[in-house]
Amino acid sequence: MSKSDVVVIGSGFAGLIAALVSAEKNKKVTLLSYGAGTFPLNSGVVDIMGYDEKGAAVASPAQALATVPAEHPYKKIGIPSVQDAVKFFLDFTKKEGLPFVGSLDKQQWIVTAVGTMKPTCLVPESMQGNQCFDAAEIVLVGVKDLKDYYVDLVAKTLPDWLGKDKKYSTFTLDSHITGGRDLTTLDVARWMDTEKGFNDAVSQLKSQAGSGKVFIVPAILGTKGNEVYTKLVAALGCPVVETTGMPPSTNGLRVRDMLLDALRKHGVEVVENIKAHGSVVDGKICKAVVAGGEVRDKKYEADSFILATGGFYSGGITMRDFGEANEVVFGLPVEADCVEERWVNEQLFSAEKQTFAKAGVRTDASLRAVDEAGNCVLENVYVVGRNLSGYDFCFEHSGNGVALSSAYKAAMA
């Protein structure tokens, strides 16, 4: 009863994809989850490669993939797996009511909450910033008393990205939500989920609609699927572009819900609030992962294990004292260049990748951890997502792309 085909450790983007792909292959999957991961922070779009080694904007992610350095996870994952993973994801999201669009050949640009634009590859239909490029007029929609989105800040910044030749107007939507706590985008998104809220929003925004106009709205287009988006576009007759947002990220939560719903439909066992912190190993084969809560541990046995525990933020890799980085479940060797002069750049927002961001587990081309000599440490344990070494996802804009493709490849193994 307790042995699974696959045990996935971690329920961030990589973990959920790994569990999903395994389940679609009819494997018996157990997912060990601790916390909601980075979804509340994550825009939920799939960045494949936004900026190259020198920090130049990438026009074709497919081409950029071909030129990543040897230590980069994409090199281990391989371009065919990335292509398959992208196809998988696009098909999946279409089935699940939150269709993503995009292609490896062409970078897309989405609008951020501060009015900059950000490169990415696969986006939900509501966030297609490319639609802004050809617009004659941009209507920047703010929401009255919204704490985390400032339309005047966006208005100051966006023209630098879209061009000053366009017409920019602002409009303040009134949610009529009064009293209580400060208003956040999630509150407004939930308001738009309701019929009353949606109709109220449409009645106000309609006055601004017109040909050649594009609406840019904060992350308020509902909390599940893309129904609010499609209805709004139909009602306004204009393109609508949703921005990224301050936490909690509305789209991040949509993606998480979509993935968890799919896992449930497949009968994946999700164990919540549980921390994996050890393993039972026989030679180079892992027999079980040891995980537990406050009181006792349990052994979760499987034929293969997918480690999607994240990096420093999520606690997959810890470094309490300088120089002593640990991978917390299997004790896999961690590459971390802990030399004072190199560990951190002088600038936070740097022209170069940050060394600490690249710390992680080095793997072979099958995504299994290797030691310094290059020998595989555990043959049936796959490392996916942020805990892979050799890349700086914040600099490159490659996080969910590595997560998606590494998780896909590991699950297909």
């Binding site: 825009s43 909450a113 490169p119 606690g315 004292d321 004072e340 936070l348 927002f349 600490f356 914040c394």
Partner: protein, 535 residues
Amino acid sequence: MEKATVVIIGGGATGVGILRDLSMRGVDALLIEKRDMVNGASSRYHGLLHSGARYAVKDQEAAKECIIENTILRKIGTSCVEATEGLFVRLDGDDPEFEQKWVAGCAASGIKAIQISPEEARRIEPNLSPKLVAAYRVPDAAIDGFRMSWQNVASAKRYGGRVKTYTEAVGVVVENGVVKGINVRDYFTKEEYVIGCDMLVNAAGPWCGFVSELAGLEVNVKPSKGTLIAFNQRIASRVVNRLRKPADGDIFVPHGSITILGTSSITIPDPEDTSTSWDEVENLMKTGVQVFERLRDYRILRVFAGSRPLYSASGDTGRNASRGFVILDHEDEGLKGMMTICGGKFTTYRLMAEKLCDKLCPKLGNHEKCRTAEEALVPEVPEAEKKAARKYFPAFGVNLAATRLGTERFGNVVKRMEEKPETREVICECENVTLAELEEIAALPTSHIISDVRRRTRLGMGTCQGNFCALRSAAALSRFDNLEASKDPLGQMKGFLQARWKGIRPVMAGKTLRETEMTRGLYELVFNVNGGRPE
């Protein structure tokens, strides 16, 4: 030409103390500061209001001075002082003889040191090491250097005192061996102009040497860098000192919701050098962890450093007013109208100012007595007013706002919150700073960049180190024309976080790493403040 009777150079504790004292004695005084106020040693130390017990063995004169000033500062600056009291703790392995000398020294200096049992010490401070063998209670306290300095300014203003920030001294105007004025440059406009004065006071702390050079003089001040670590929680509710010969890293001071561990002492050539290294951090940690054994598990918010102005007399040129600080009257060197005051510690700033003014005022024909110890710096916000305002503030916000703002500004803020309910919005959730308070401070003539506003409101200095309020404050402040934020809100937002980064870089391990990953995930990724445009 702009003119003042006395121009004071340096916006640290010494300078503002002198500004207040002179103003209260009726002397027209203007203070110039090259950047924002209180940006030197006065804000970069552990914020300890000494009981003097640290000097009880080696320097009883200094100890006596401390306890007297401690009592005075508590009285005149109640809203700046957290009466935390302090503990001196001896661990197993520390010299018991030192303890005896220390007890005797406290008695001789008039410092009340009450012995308590190790069990009692660990009952009142449960995080203390079980290796504790002796403990004493002393009247240490925690003091907010920023706030007290700004309150000195507020008090001085009531008496006509003036302040100009972002105004750097670049030359001294001398005619026939007499100081006539000071040449200054505005940091933002780059404009240079002269301010005329009869007396010039060099109170530039570790920069004293640079300023005196402008007048062709030599003041032998050696900046000594002290590194401090800020922890994310109140490890103890009291100041905790190590009861042994003073060394690095043996003081913990609670400040509001955080704790500061300090400090060290390294001679540096340049007082601008506020960098810290892993070694310096480890140096403090390895001592600190002996007192609080779980120290390495606690989250470090940031590290910072300040340079102390250590004066070393080369020969006998200075007339020492008191041990620890020195007052130099440059008339002795042939330059009439300039005095330098250098050295000292925050706890004795008021006394230092008093001694300098006692020397300076007679030269101007002013014989008023010093009253700085008698009058409160600022009136306290009445309890009734705070009570009435509670409904507008977030929980645990009204006291913090009242102490930060003082009576007049508090009143303005409450009025704003009444009339414009949207300003009750909490911009910095970690330190409970409302939009109303932010707007009040942003409008001040001394506010130029977001960090100026941060220093006055504690915005971004709490748990999330600006992750959330950097965006909110950049947006809110972009509406103020006097702020750089209005021209370049994104740049200001980045600058704000970059300033925080300086203190986080040297401790990028443990829990601090997590927070930086979040900052980058938000600002580099979700907001893309660092990436370039499509080709």
